[in-house]
Amino acid sequence: MNAPTRLTLATEGDTEVVVTRRFAAPPELVYRAHVEPDLIRRWMTGPDGWEMPRCECDPRPGGAIRYDWAPAGGGEGGFHLTGEFRELVPHSRIVHVERMHLPDPTPDNEITTTFEPTADGGTLLTARMRLPNAESRAAMLASGMEHGMEDSYARIDGLFADAG
């Protein structure tokens, strides 16, 4: 099995952000890691130094999502996310809506995550995030900065890929 490939992140059109990533595990496992709280809380903790004290989700259409993040070892600055599942196709596709509470809720972010088998037995994950308008996408990209990390100016492939 090939080593996992690098993440890509690109803006698309006016309101979307598309993330892709390959994993050296079959779609069934990668899918499970997105719908089982015991697995989710072991990886979806964001930048180093954060943990998920609360991680609940009910993976069926209409089922609720609630994730809380807090600085590891206590301290101020925690925030949480709520959402709902819209569609689940086991081992293949998840559509859900989520919003951050910072503490005011951010606009709804509709995320379609697909899990495609690759020839080498791995998975190609694509997460397509759709915001209600260009302004809310801008706010989401900026909020990625708030829980920030060191500066980096690596070139973003495809930032203008949809131009023209």
Partner: protein, 109 residues
């Protein structure tokens, strides 16, 4: 609108993104920029004002011409935002790699 909103509102228009893509190849004047689009020079000038107001392009005077070029600082800022978001995903997915490897070892016969 705050600065982030101004920047992304400027980027929300496809004609303006196309203008930026053209400027990525090098400096150009209004006439050159208007050429590929079915819009008037005044319309292009309006787009350039939005881009300039958002700090995405710089314009200099050269006689009666006012050629435009990308502002490298502004693009660096946008890239930095995308990069930080990317780093959050990268940190998550690197941990997911480890978790998946552990799960596969456990599932192995």
């Amino acid at each position: 609108m705050n600065r982030t909103d101004t920047l992304f509102a400027a980027l929300a228009d496809p004609t303006r993104r196309a203008i930026l893509a053209r400027l990525a190849e090098g400096e150009a004047g209004v006439m050159e920029l208007a050429e590929p689009f079915e819009i008037s020079q005044p319309a292009v000038t309006r787009h350039l004002k939005v881009l300039e107001g958002a700090g995405l392009i710089l314009r200099r005077a050269e006689g009666t011409r006012r050629p435009c070029c990308l502002n490298p600082d502004a693009l660096g800022e946008i890239e930095a935002w995308c990069t930080r978001l990317r780093e959050t995903f990268a940190a998550n997915y690197d941990r997911l790699d480890t978790l998946l490897a552990n799960l596969q070892r456990k599932d192995a016969p």
